[in-house]
Subunit: 402 residues, 2 copies
């Protein structure tokens, strides 16, 4: 991985790069009256774009639409709503997404930028199964195009408008020393969790990068960041990560440097998503080393990170390494149970498959817990970010339909 | 599946068949002083036996021992302890298991039945990672052989002594009209959950059945009962299911009738395990129909049964069918999202991938919830038993090392 040559800041988002405007507003989609509609607009001169989408076979209408749109490798705008996922809504729901893209294209054309619906990606998040209130959404689209602002405030407004159970907006900007920039915003509380907890991410850049290079940088970055954030093993019907380039800096970046900047932006947003996960009281890194391959390491780390008994033990600050070892033993990879070493926060708690003296006294009372599992059969390694399984998680996901 | 020709009762256990004695006692392994040692003894004349064990690659010492013993297809006795899993304890822990089997063999030989350690299976359950207090366990073994009783009380004492977080002992007996019997006991609170929640099952019969037929009946029964009980997706280091035949009825059963009786005993014990699962407030059956194959149906049902968002919604009595559909979409099988029908307690809530009117008003406030998912692409079907994800589950698994 190329080292990042630049700085990462969190108080700037999608409008940090040149050539982007954004806005956020309350269109009345949410009954609460909170902001629920966002727009990210690319002023050009380039309009290259790439996207990655949920692997769930049940895909929401906006995902089906945006996947089609992205086959062109080109985007002029992204419209995002909270307050409804528009998932499992059938052909009528797909018609609503199409109508939303048409409305954005029409409003942008009226505003002076000739735009087609095929240049507009749509993202939605909220409860699965209900139709969107189009009587609120379509007038909102007309209004939000008028509200679009350059500068940083438009990006911040957009980051607020996509929040659901998020407690804070999530933004990031990377300023590369060569003069080009990457910006981004994300929502999601609980990684890849259906309904309310969908993950939506929009990344922007003013570097001049063609669609194929955007696609490869985005796939490489998401595979090592969002794909390795695993709060509850669920994967939403609506998860979407988009990357848009305006080329407005007029600088063609080194490919490795660009990939490193996109990775840094995604990595920082993934960190922010973990920290704000539904009901989490612990931020947990599960690192697996010594696997036969990096893929094996991911598999083992994910198995540990998803284990309810590990997650409840860590909620209780209990250094219960036996549950970690038992979870490792269920991972579908080749391993030698008698060679495994487990470490909590830098203290070895189990070596060669047996506990070590003092293991039950390791202090896990802090917010951050690092679990390291050395399989000692190879050199593959990977880290998964996760959280604990707390009363708050149960409360948030049982107390109301979400 | 052959229909069961006989009766199933729950107040009798491993001593219901002829030719078995059992006992349970407090040997001082548990700090609480509660019963923690059990013995099941086969008086013969036959000693055929079979076993199935955890699929976890991290196997406790007693599992490693009992797997070796079972290669002979013969067992004279099973000794079981709660209060310690003897898992992840290395060669010394294996030595403890071996010493336990030797002590049982020696005590039985002194009592008048010449027995070798190779005829004694060992099962342990409790916290992973600690050595067993052999100074308590070995004298206990000598004492329990003296305590062995025929009749039903010995079986009931044994069923009590293997309990950990179980709130009730679990026993079953099947009396076949042809004159032979099957009996059984189980412990486990939370299916296949490491440490405290290990599942241990001993099934006995007085039917004359050779080891190969025992093995095939046991594997067929466990595949459709214990393997389809999935409380939290975890699989213990110690899970063990044993089947012993005394042949004392002197009746050779019809193979199908015997398989049906073993299935009925396992199915009833699985039902009892689900009802007593840690922190559960709901008993949930997830049935998948219309899959390409029964295996696909199991995969989909298991994916739904393990989904934390589905389990928390059902804890909240929330008919959130969108979460079920999203979970189905993550199952690694071929399916058509637009053909799926979902039913809660007999009410269709989603048809062809869309919600139906009134779906959000279905009453799930009762203890039993039946979720049926029709994939409509084939004729495969399967049912998984599970429970909700409750505050009680989090409490029980976080509040102390277990």
């Amino acid at each position: 991985m190329h080292t990042l040559d630049g700085s990462v800041v969190r108080d700037q988002g999608v409008t940090a790069p040149l050539g982007f405007r954004a806005a956020g507003m309350a269109a009345g989609i949410k009954a609460s009256g909170r902001p629920d509609l966002a727009l990210v607009f690319n002023e050009g001169p380039d309009y290259t774009a790439a996207g990655v989408f949920t692997r769930n076979k049940v895909k929401a209408a906006p995902v089906q639409w945006s996947q089609q749109v992205l086959t062109t490798g080109r985007l002029r705008a992204v419209v995002l709503n909270s307050g409804g996922a528009n998932a499992c809504t059938g052909p009528d729901g797909f018609g609503d997404t199409h109508a939303t893209a048409e409305a954005v294209a029409s409003a942008l054309s009226n505003w002076g930028t000739e735009t087609g619906a095929i240049e507009v990606a749509v993202c939605s998040t909220g409860l699965i199964g209900d139709r969107l209130p189009m009587d609120k959404l379509l007038p909102g689209v007309t209004a939000i195009v008028r509200d679009m602002a350059g500068g940083l405030s438009g990006g911040t407004d957009a980051a607020h408008a996509i929040m659901t159970t998020d407690t804070v907006p999530k933004q990031v900007a990377v300023h590369h020393t060569a003069g080009w920039n990457v910006g981004g915003m994300a929502k999601g509380a609980g990684m890849l969790a259906p309904s309310l907890a969908t993950m939506l991410v929009v990344i922007t850049t003013d570097a001049k990068v063609d669609a194929a290079a955007l696609d490869s940088a985005l796939r490489a970055a998401t595979a090592r960041t969002f794909d390795r954030l695993d709060v509850d093993g669920s994967c939403s019907t609506n998860d979407t990560v988009l990357l848009l380039s305006s080329g407005a800096s007029d600088i063609e970046p080194d490919a490795d440097a660009f990939a490193a900047a996109v990775f840094a932006a995604c990595d920082d947003l993934a960190e922010q998503l973990m920290a704000d996960a539904e009901g989490a009281t612990k931020r947990i890194l599960v690192t697996v080393t010594g696997a036969h391959s990096d893929d094996d390491a991911v598999t083992v780390a994910r198995t540990v990170a998803r284990d309810s008994l590990v997650k409840t033990a860590l909620f209780g600050s209990d250094p219960n390494w036996g549950r970690v070892l038992a979870a490792v033993g269920m991972a579908p990879v080749e391993l030698d149970p008698d060679a495994i070493t487990i470490d909590f926060n830098g203290h070895v708690v189990s070596r060669n498959g047996c506990g070590v003296a003092g293991a039950r006294e390791v202090d896990l009372s802090g917010t951050d817990i690092v679990v390291t599992v050395d399989l000692a059969v190879g050199s593959g390694r990977a880290t998964i970010r996760t959280t604990d399984l707390s009363h708050g998680y149960v409360e948030e996901n049982s107390a109301y339909s979400s």
